[in-house]
Symmetry: C2
Subunit: 601 residues, 2 copies
């Protein structure tokens, strides 16, 4: 007796068709099982995207930046229950907004907020303003960098997931020109911000060059320059504030400052397998142990805020105690620092400074949701900017992969920006191609998370490419790809004809061709993706040649042929185009011959 | 007034220290928030590993293979409530076990089960037997392949996550020798099984060569050879059964058969963006539409079982209707097929055949848990063997990455084996290096999932490498890496001295060095990982040279130097070793000079 599997599926999962009984799509909706934290939904008018909370996960804070106003602002009587808006507050006499947060609190939509809304697509300028006012979004835009080529962007969970690329010379490797080249390369490969983490060469000149050449926000870790020509033990208040003023003047858009590593946390680091892996964190730990004093960045926080305020530099409060191995993940040291970052966030908001908070390094996959969501508990929704995390320690050389797995999950569970990791992590300094590999892996993570979260419009790209793929329109397939040169080069390596199969399966077994030929199926029949006849692909561009040279699969002769092919050369290579089986249509065989001998579009 | 962040953390998360109040480790335990499905826990005596169920996720089936016994076995009176064991059953007269499942049902621990237990480490042979008897584990071991070099292994959620590598020639590319080379290469890079998916060349000779050379189980998709010299429309019962007999005789360990694509499912494929992307699925769909008959694989299932039984070939029931784009994921067609695979699983178990079930291709990250867990509802715990899934469609050239993100999640949520995807997916046929890249990405996914699930012993490897890294013992760090040559080559590209920093940060900023030097920290002080002095690394091996050549970062001269270096050559390169800042110890500077001029171990 036949089982009705269709009926069983519909019965087993009734919610599936609740919205559209005639739909053939059973699927859970994007971001399904999602419950946006109540704090965000509805309040600022913008939907914050989130994965559903697993049982046992800590709940979000019920506070926002509106709960940490500057002490000289007054809540107007009557607004006690409705204070998360500009109209509820009395500002001090002669108040001048300086930062994006200031403006948002005044109800002002700045030029930068408008630009952000244009770029995000699914957010209005007012929603952007309200997200900034709530502290859930930052627009890192130093006024001095705005004088150059900075194109304003935002980081925050209501917006698309962002990616940061790190670069910078070390004393052992690289220099200013190479770093500017990496900057442009990172911009090309989709980095949304770039950090100059130089510890060697001419730090000042490199930083200036990067800021002046960059359309994306630039971040730095100022403590690195504080120890040039100086031992860490000799770091003092004057050096700290002067360095910050200098870099702020230069136009740095955000500073990573490790103010959350407190003296009292250090005993919880003692038994870790790999101690402190943050450069800034380890330097400040060393300072504190030497002086038996509290972290100067923590004690000077309000003075540092005053420096930040001048040009609107954003905080990226550093995770000096992030875990550097799975064994050290989610320990008291890490979480106590995160709690401190929450305190520092509150203090920064009281000074009107924009804040994002940094997060961990190496975390087993099953602990990522907890790691992300405990941050919204402790830091009141401030954007979370996470490095990876790596989900295993044992694959150096491939840490762009081990970490982008964690990063995709981290963004889905709440992180707003992902700091990339390259294949050189743990081994040496990233080169230009490592920058690209890191960017690609992280654009994958960011985009996949946006789709999972259901951010409007993000899956349109995937669907368009799927239509092109279904139609076997190779050119359109590659044009829509994130890296068209690589896709085209890999295809042409085996088969330099665009036709209704490829080298993976050959003609007879190509499921995409078969699906397209089945009249009843819509597959491959989208109007905008049709093509007329098979054609020889164009000669390889230089970039595509280089890609294939590095793969080392083709001989120099084969590479040369692809690079310089003409009809005549194609016709001579009988073996290459003999891709039809003995049961291929006479029509098909004829078509291939036409391709070989006839017109090449 | 200072906030006690340590106290706040302990209070906020009380369960953290429940097990050990003196622990500095807050962390959630591996596989935390995990609730192994009740069906598995306790019953067979082995713990099945699982992520915690999100709210709304379908519950597991409460049946196992013990509920689908051959109809000529009788349940002994009195065992109605305790029938999941050999003693509960009366076998037919003169019964001879043929498959691993048969033996397990008879209470027999076979040689292969013992070998599996040795390889798994955390499972006893009895537990292996019981997992096989319950249908939750398969040991794909064709008796004919056992005559050659097959080393028995198991696939099932109680065991470590496994990885399959696909290879095979197409009509357009490759041949037997190249495919055997890929096989050995895949074995080297950790593939646990290999599938020969050839559609071109001499299919028979290739398959024979692969089986005879392979220490891992070999899978095939027999329908491919069924259409050599034949149109799909002409496929008949005789061809199907003869082909299966022939391949079973050759020693194939598991068959992918797309018996779950039913005629009545096809209308649910109509509106998909990319129809049917499975070769076998599309061929059978074409057959059914042409003949207006039910899928012959489905109708002939019991006859096929009889063929499988002879040499103990395992089923891998194909996912012919898997989604080929995010837009098609989790639709009725896919789920109805999965329901059918459940029915086919039951029918195969009744014939004593081992079964695993195949799963989807392209699934948004947020739908993966649902996709994995609905399978345990429908297929009673049979091992789930999934391809990817890809979490975005728009990165062809990088689909080993887009899919290993999904695969890590899939394994954590229940999949037992992951079918790899290479950088050539959607574009052409994988080459040798693509096989390696696919294997590495999937070994990452499998290992990261094992750690997340808390499979005993799996994180020891990560912890050992972290200790070596913390001690700055580079040689041990690389020896413990999954790919030591790549790790060593990337390190030496910038700095060919093993010392207490690397080229990423240089001496003064190396956090790992600083952590190790802080007396109070245990970091880097593990006895087994200490080293005496910095040393020049050995000359590059040929493989390491090739890795750096392909990167294209170093000039031929620099490569030559690394490949052939001697003390004299090192001493001459003053610029290369000037990695100490102006504040480096005189001791350090001297040490480097000793390295340059002195002994090279």
């Amino acid at each position: 007796m036949a089982i009705d599997h269709i009926a069983r599926v519909k019965e087993l999962m009734p919610e599936i068709l609740a919205s559209d009984p005639s739909s053939t799509h059973a699927g859970t909706t994007p971001g399904s099982f999602a419950s946006a934290p109540e704090i965000a939904a509805g309040r600022a008018g913008a939907k914050t995207y989130s994965s559903q909370d697993s049982p046992g996960i800590p709940k979000p804070s019920n506070k926002t930046a509106w709960d940490f106003m500057p002490t000289d602002w007054t809540l107007i009587e009557g607004f006690e229950d409705d204070y998360e808006k500009a109209e509820a507050w009395q500002r001090p006499q002669n108040y001048e907004p300086s930062t994006q947060l200031d403006s948002a609190r005044c109800g002002i939509v700045t030029v930068e907020m408008q630009r952000v809304a244009d770029r995000e697509g699914h957010l209005t300028a007012t929603q952007v303003r309200d997200e900034v006012a709530a502290g859930r979004m930052v627009i890192p835009a130093n006024r001095n960098h705005l004088q150059h080529n900075l194109d304003p962007m935002a980081i925050g969970r209501a917006s698309k997931t962002k990616v940061n690329a790190n670069m910078g010379a070390s004393p052992v490797s690289s220099g200013t020109d190479e770093e500017v080249e990496k900057l442009k390369w990172a911009e090309r490969w989709g980095a949304d911000t770039v950090m100059d983490l130089s510890t060697g060469g001419d730090l000042d000149a490199c930083r200036e060059a990067i800021i002046q050449n960059s359309t994306v926000p630039i971040g730095t870790v100022p403590i690195y320059s504080m120890i040039i020509g100086r031992r860490i033990e000799d770091l003092d208040e004057e050096t700290i504030l002067n360095t910050l003023r200098h870099q702020a003047d230069q136009g740095v858009d955000y500073f990573t400052i490790h103010a959350g590593v407190l003296h009292e946390h250090l005993e919880y680091v003692k038994n870790r397998l790999i101690g402190i892996v943050s450069r800034g964190g380890s330097l400040l730990a060393k300072w504190m142990i030497h002086h038996s004093l509290q972290n100067p960045m923590y004690t000077l926080w309000e003075d540092i805020c005053d420096v930040m305020r001048q040009h609107d530099v954003t905080f990226s409060i550093g995770d000096g105690l992030r875990p550097g191995g799975l064994a050290d993940a989610t320990d008291i040291a890490q979480l106590a620092e995160l709690s401190t970052l929450g305190e520092l966030t509150e203090r920064a908001w009281r000074k009107g400074i924009q804040v994002m908070v940094e997060g961990p390094g190496h975390v087993p996959l099953d602990q990522i949701e907890f790691n992300m969501k405990v941050q919204r508990t402790l830091c009141h929704g401030a954007p979370f900017y996470v490095l990876g995390p790596l989900v295993t320690d044992v694959f150096p050389g491939y840490d762009h992969i081990t970490s982008c797995i964690g990063a995709t999950n981290a963004a889905w569970h709440g992180a707003s920006m992902l700091c990339y990791v390259t294949p050189k992590e743990h081994l040496g300094l990233p080169k230009k191609d490592d920058v690209k590999q890191g960017c690609v892996a992280y654009k994958i993570a960011a985009h996949a998370a946006d789709v999972a979260l259901g951010i409007p419009g993000t899956r349109d790209w995937d669907d368009d490419l799927t239509r092109a793929r279904a139609a076997l329109n190779w050119q359109k397939h590659f044009d829509l790809s994130f890296d068209p040169d690589t896709a085209r080069a890999y295809h042409d390596e085996d088969l330099d004809v665009d036709t209704d199969f490829c080298a993976m399966c050959g003609h007879d077994w190509c499921s995409v061709r078969i699906s397209k030929e089945i009249q009843e199926f819509a597959s491959g029949k989208s109007d905008d993706y049709q093509w007329q006849k098979a054609k020889v692909s164009a000669a390889l561009s230089e970039e595509q040649q280089e890609i294939l040279e590095k793969r080392g699969v083709l001989s120099p002769e084969e590479l040369h042929r692809l690079a310089s092919k003409t009809k005549k050369t194609m016709g001579a290579e009988e073996g290459k185009a003999s891709c039809h089986s003995e049961v291929s249509d006479a029509d098909k065989a004829q078509m291939l011959q036409i391709v070989e001998l006839g017109s090449a579009d």
